[in-house]
C-alpha cells in the first residue's frame, strides 16, 4: 500500500475517534511540516478552522483598525492654505512634496524618510526580540489581507469541513454559485485595496470621482489593476507561500530571536507524552496533550506547532486559542500552547521556576537606538528651517575683469521659501571692503536686497559681486551670503569665496 493511501486510511479511521470526551479528533494534516515538505510539489490547500478566544478577538480588532486606517487615511482633510493640497497624507509626485498632516517634506529632505525606515526597522527588531514574529502574526499586510480573505471564504463556503467537502465535491450549481460569489467579493476587496493605494498619491475625492467616470490618468488605472491583481493573487491564492517562499523576514528573524524571546510555543514539558484521553482516566504519567489536532486544524500556515519553532510559523497565536478552548473542555489549565520561551521549558524540565526577562542588553540597545533616532528626527522636524539658501559660485569663468580693473564674481543664489505664502526675504552679503552687489531681476542695489520668493518655491538669482582693484589683497577672499525674513527673524547663511584670479599685487 502506498504511503499517501495509508495516511488517508488512518485519517478516515481517526475521523470517527474522539481525542477526549466532547473533543473530536481532527484529521488535520500539517501539510507544510518538515516531514511532508518536498521540493517539487503543487500547493496543498489549507483550510484553517475558525477559533474563538482572546487572540482571535485581538486579531479581529487589529484587522478592523488597520484596514480602517488604510482605507480611511486618504480621505482625511487638512487645511494648508491656498495653493497647497488639503489632503492630510499625500505623496505629491507632481509637485514633488510629501505631506503628512503638519509636516511637509521636500525631495532633498528625503533623509527624514531614511530616519523613518531606520525607526521602523529598529522597532521591528525590538518587538521581534521581545515577542517573536508579532509583525508577521498580527500586522503584516499579507497576514491581514489573507485573514480577511479567509473570513470571506468562511462566510460563503462555511468552516473547515464544509470547505473541504465543497472542494472535493463535483461541480454543482451550489458549488459554482459559492465559488463565483467568493471570487467576486475577493476581487472587490482587491480593487478597493488597489484603489485606496493610489488615493495616497492624488487628491482622493477628485481621483475617486475620475476613476469612476473613466477620466483618470492611465497610470492610475495601471496601478489600480496591478495592485488589484497582486492583492487578489497574494491574499486569495498564494497565502502562506508568500511567507514561506517569498518573504526574507522569516530568514532574518532567526538572528533576532534568542532563548528569552516570548514566542508561540507548545509546552512539550507539559504536553508529552500525548495521546487520546477517556473520561475518568488519570492524568498522571501522561502529558496534557490529547492529540486532538485542533491546533493543526486552526493553523493558517499548515504546520504543527508541536514540532517546535519553525520557519513557517508566523506566530499568529490562533493555535493558542484553539488549544485553550480544548483545555477548558477537559478541565485542565489553559496555556498548553502559549507565549513562552524555550529556556523556560528547559527550566521546568529541570524543576526550576520559569522566568521572563523583558530587560536584556539587546533590548536596551534597541530601545536606546530608537530613542536616539527619534530624538534626532524630532529635533530636525521641530527646528526645520523655513528658508534654505544655496550658493553656487560661477566657475566658468572664475572671475571677470572689468574695464576699470575691478574684479567681478558671479554666484547663483538659490533661495527656498518653505512657507506656503509668498515672502519678501532680505538678502545681504558680507564681503571684501568696498564691494558692490547686483542681483539680476532685483532693481535695488543697496543691501539688504529685497527678494520676492513665491510660496513653497525656490527662486534662483544671479548675483554679481564686484570688488575694486585696490581691495584685492588676496587671491581668495571669504564671503558670506545671508538671507532673513524681516518679519520673523528667520535667518540662514552660507559661506563662499570671492576669487580675484591672482590679480592681487
Amino acid at each position: 500500500m502506498s504511503a499517501p493511501l495509508l495516511s488517508t486510511v488512518r485519517a478516515v479511521a481517526a475521523e470517527t475517534a474522539l481525542a477526549a470526551d466532547g473533543v473530536a479528533r481532527s484529521n488535520a494534516q500539517a501539510t507544510n511540516s518538515a516531514q511532508s515538505r518536498e521540493l517539487y510539489r503543487a500547493r496543498q490547500p489549507i483550510y484553517p478552522k475558525l477559533v474563538h478566544g482572546e487572540f482571535r478577538l485581538l486579531k479581529w480588532v487589529g484587522l478592523a483598525g488597520m484596514l480602517a486606517i488604510y482605507y480611511g487615511v486618504p480621505w482625511i482633510r487638512w487645511e494648508r492654505g491656498p495653493g497647497a493640497p488639503d489632503q492630510a497624507v499625500l505623496v505629491d509626485l507632481f509637485r514633488e512634496r510629501f505631506y503628512f498632516f503638519w509636516i511637509e517634506i521636500w525631495p532633498q529632505e528625503v533623509y527624514y524618510l531614511t530616519g523613518l525606515l531606520i525607526l521602523a526597522a529598529l522597532g521591528l527588531f525590538l518587538v521581534t526580540a521581545l515577542f517573536g514574529r508579532v509583525w508577521c502574526g498580527y500586522a503584516c499586510p499579507q497576514t491581514v489581507w489573507t485573514d480577511l480573505y479567509i473570513m470571506v471564504e468562511r462566510l460563503i463556503e462555511g468552516d473547515r469541513n464544509a470547505r473541504m467537502r465543497l472542494d472535493k465535491s463535483p461541480w454543482t450549481v451550489e458549488k459554482f454559485v459559492k465559488k463565483t460569489a467568493k471570487h467576486t467579493v475577493w476581487l472587490m476587496i482587491a480593487a478597493a485595496t488597489g484603489g485606496a493605494w493610489i488615493l495616497y498619491f492624488h487628491d482622493a475625492p477628485t481621483l475617486a470621482a475620475n476613476l469612476f467616470q473613466g477620466t483618470a490618468d492611465i497610470t492610475a488605472y495601471l496601478f489600480l489593476g496591478g495592485l488589484t491583481f497582486t492583492t487578489y493573487w497574494l491574499a486569495g491564492h498564494m497565502r502562506e507561500q508568500v511567507c514561506t517562499y517569498m518573504c526574507p523576514w522569516p530568514r532574518i528573524q532567526a538572528a533576532l530571536i534568542d532563548q528569552d524571546t516570548l514566542m508561540v510555543t507548545y509546552r512539550h514539558d507539559r504536553g508529552e507524552p500525548r495521546g487520546p484521553h477517556k473520561k475518568g482516566q488519570p492524568w498522571e504519567g501522561r502529558g496534557h496533550c490529547i492529540d486532538c489536532n485542533q491546533c493543526v486544524a486552526a493553523c493558517p500556515m499548515g504546520i504543527d506547532i508541536r514540532d517546535g519553532d519553525q520557519l513557517e510559523c508566523i506566530n499568529c497565536a490562533l493555535c493558542i486559542d484553539a488549544c485553550d478552548d480544548v483545555m477548558k473542555r477537559v478541565n485542565l489549565p489553559r496555556g498548553l500552547i502559549a507565549y513562552d520561551t524555550s529556556q523556560n521549558i528547559e527550566r521546568r524540565l529541570r524543576g526550576e521556576k520559569p522566568k521572563i526577562r523583558l530587560i536584556r542588553p539587546r533590548l536596551i540597545l534597541y530601545a536606546v537606538s530608537i530613542a536616539a533616532v527619534g530624538a534626532v528626527m524630532l529635533f530636525g522636524l521641530s527646528t526645520r528651517a523655513t528658508i534654505e539658501l544655496n550658493v553656487l559660485r560661477e566657475r566658468n569663468p572664475t572671475f571677470v575683469r572689468l574695464s576699470d580693473g575691478s574684479i567681478r564674481n558671479a554666484y547663483t543664489v538659490k533661495i527656498i521659501n518653505r512657507n506656503n505664502a509668498p515672502r519678501t526675504l532680505a538678502l545681504a552679503v558680507d564681503g571684501p571692503v568696498g564691494f558692490e552687489i547686483k542681483a539680476i531681476g532685483v532693481e535695488q542695489l543697496a543691501m539688504p536686497l529685497p527678494v520676492e520668493v513665491p510660496g513653497d518655491k525656490l527662486r534662483s538669482l544671479r548675483v554679481l559681486i564686484t570688488v575694486p582693484a585696490k581691495a584685492l589683497k588676496e587671491v581668495s577672499l571669504p564671503i558670506v551670503f545671508r538671507v532673513n525674513d524681516p518679519k520673523t527673524a528667520d535667518t540662514t547663511e552660507t559661506r563662499s569665496v570671492f576669487l580675484s584670479g591672482g590679480s592681487a599685487p
Partner: protein, 290 residues
C-alpha cells in the same frame, strides 16, 4: 550502454530520462511549475507583440503591426510637443521688454536656460563655454562692449554679425598701418608708447609727445581724440584695462601693424527670433549688460 527504457529512480522517486552512461542514469526532474508558466506566458506575449508591433521582415519592408508604432514618429511627435510647449513662453519673450523679463522669475529663468543651451551650441566655439572669450574673441561677461551692451544692441549684433555676409552687418576696419606702409616703423613705436600712456600706464614721455600728432591724424577719427573709442563705429576704448588682442607693447604694436578684426557670423538667418531673444537675454544677464 545506452538504455532506452524510462523508469523511476528508486532513491528519489523521480522519473528518469532513460539515458544511462556507465550505470549512471539521468533523472528527469521537472522544471519548477512557476518557471514553466512564465515561459508559456512569454510565448503568448511574443505572439501579441508580433501582431501589435513591427516584427517580421517582408520582401519589400516589414510587418508594421496593427498599432503602426514607430519610434521615429514618436520622437518627431515629442519634438513637436516640446516646440508647442515653448511656443507660449517664446511669445511672451518676444513681446516683453527686458525689464519685464527680468522681473518675472519664470520667464527670466526660461530665457536664460534656453539662451544658455543655444549659446553652448552656437557661440561657445569662439566665445568659450562660459562666454569668457579668448584673445581676439570678446569676453561677454565684462562691461566692455565694442558695439554696445544694451539688450537691443546685443540682439542686433547677434542678428547681423560683425564683418559678416549680412548686408546690414556691423562693420569696422582697423587699417594695417604697418603692413600697408601707412606709417613708418619709428612712428608706430611712438604710437605704441602713446597708447600705453592712454591706458594710464608709465610710458616714454618723449615718444608720447612725438606721437600725439600722429594719433590725432590717423587714429582719433575712430578711437576719438581722448582714445575712449566710439561704439557707433565699433572702435574700442584704448583707455581701459581690457585689450581684445593683448595689452603688452608687442601686442599693441602688432595690432597697429596688421589691424586685425574678427568675424562674427550673422545669426538672423539661422536662428528663429525667439531663440535670438533668449540668447540676447542670456548674454545680457551674464553681468555686463547695460
Amino acid at each position: 550502454m545506452v538504455g532506452k527504457k524510462k523508469g523511476v529512480d528508486e532513491f528519489s522517486g523521480t522519473e528518469t530520462t532513460g539515458h544511462e552512461w556507465d550505470g549512471i542514469r539521468e533523472l528527469d526532474t521537472p522544471l519548477p511549475r512557476w518557471w514553466l508558466w512564465v515561459f508559456y506566458a512569454t510565448i503568448v506575449w511574443a505572439f501579441g507583440y508580433w501582431i501589435l508591433y513591427p516584427s517580421w521582415p517582408t520582401l519589400s519592408g516589414y510587418m508594421p503591426g496593427i498599432l503602426h508604432q514607430s519610434q521615429r514618429a514618436d520622437v518627431e511627435q515629442a519634438v513637436l510637443e516640446l516646440r508647442s510647449k515653448r511656443e507660449e513662453m517664446g511669445k511672451m519673450l518676444g513681446t516683453a521688454t527686458l525689464e519685464q523679463i527680468e522681473a518675472d522669475p519664470n520667464l527670466f529663468q526660461f530665457a536664460r536656460e534656453a539662451g544658455k543651451s543655444v549659446f553652448g551650441d552656437n557661440c561657445a566655439t569662439c566665445h568659450g563655454s562660459g562666454a569668457q572669450g579668448f584673445k581676439g574673441y570678446p569676453n561677454l561677461n565684462d562691461d566692455v562692449w565694442l558695439w554696445g551692451g544694451k539688450l537691443e544692441d546685443i540682439k542686433h549684433t547677434i542678428q547681423v554679425g560683425v564683418r559678416s555676409t549680412s548686408p546690414d552687418t556691423r562693420q569696422s576696419q582697423m587699417p594695417a598701418f604697418g603692413r600697408d606702409a601707412m606709417l613708418e616703423s619709428k612712428q608706430i613705436d611712438d604710437l605704441v608708447e602713446y597708447v600705453v600712456s592712454l591706458a594710464g600706464r608709465p610710458a616714454n614721455t618723449e615718444a608720447v609727445g612725438r606721437a600725439r600728432q600722429t594719433f590725432k591724424e590717423q587714429c582719433a577719427v575712430c578711437h576719438g581724440e581722448d582714445g575712449k573709442g566710439k561704439r557707433e563705429l565699433g572702435a574700442p576704448n584704448l583707455t581701459d584695462t581690457e585689450w581684445l588682442y593683448g595689452g603688452e607693447r608687442s601686442d599693441i604694436r602688432a595690432q597697429i601693424v596688421t589691424g586685425r578684426g574678427g568675424v562674427m557670423p550673422t545669426w538672423g538667418s539661422r536662428l528663429d527670433p525667439m531663440t535670438i531673444d533668449a540668447l540676447a537675454v542670456y548674454v545680457h544677464s551674464l553681468g555686463g549688460g547695460e
